[in-house]
Symmetry: C2
DNA sequence: AAAATAAACGCAACTATGTTGCAATTAAGG
DNA sequence: CCTTAATTGCAACATAGTTGCGTTTATTTT
């Protein structure tokens, strides 16, 4: 099964039409080596109407196909979901790491599972944003 | 030492002039029972010029007097820094918890220190954003 | 206590993203 | 191929981010 067919299946599974724009957006996000900044998506898809990009991204987020990977309220980054996510539940088991030097953001699996406990509180979701210097920039 | 004197000292320590506006902003942030949403700051300080609020907030963030406490790219929340922070290093040992019901955001100390390790990477900062249901809303 | 100075402030202006409505277009199923 | 419901583009509006500049003010110096 080629990549385009895979994206089409992914979309149809979420009751989203597999339009050329959506397939194009997905290939842009998926082919980026790390989490892709919003501005970079815009660059690559400058022929998209601004609102279309906005709505397409929202549809993908809603469908649990991509997720946001922002670190400390900077520009928003996007990445493909690896696990099966839904609108309500983006349950990633990874952390987001941003290199302060090259500004690259990536999804990193953590070996030791992080256990966070807060008394008298029901925890639904935990997002961990790590920043520092990546291997290439040390 | 009363609170206003304390804020004045806090500002001067960072080479920031202790102006009425800055003291007012600090008292608004400090008197809020949890992390205060940006919109709430605006409400309470509607007599501030928009740019002044923007610049004042930035100065406080820069000086390590307040910090952002956003959870998942929603509205930005602000809270007083408890530790001694600087522009480069906001080293909080707490996590940010957002109740999905009442939308209140608070800084929570975690008893068990979170140890995150990523191979071949220098970690400078870790932000943990937790969302769920708070005690009052259960 | 008054003057000097460097910072803070308000205003105008511009940029960018978020968001909605509506008409035109198009994907998907029969 | 035709129907229909979803998607797209355009226009329009809202709000936050950001900069420059002239005026005001907090703090220092005389």
């Amino acid at each position: 099964m080629d990549i385009e067919t895979k994206f089409t299946a992914l979309l149809r599974d979420r009751n989203l039409k597999a339009t050329p724009k959506r397939l194009e957006l997905l290939s842009v996000v998926a082919n980026y080596n790390s989490a892709i900044p919003y501005s970079e998506i815009q660059n690559k898809l400058h022929h998209f109407d601004r609102v279309t990009l906005y709505r397409t991204l929202n549809a993908m987020l809603d469908g649990g196909i991509i997720h946001k990977a922002s670190v400390s309220s900077d520009e928003v980054y996007y990445a493909m979901c690896r696990e099966y996510c839904t609108s309500e539940c983006h349950n990633h088991k990874h952390v987001h790491f941003k290199c302060l030097q090259c500004l690259e953001v990536s999804c990193v699996d953590v070996t030791n599972p992080i256990q966070i406990q807060i008394p008298n509180v029901v925890i639904k979701q935990v997002e961990i944003e790590v920043s520092g210097v990546c291997e290439k920039c040390i």
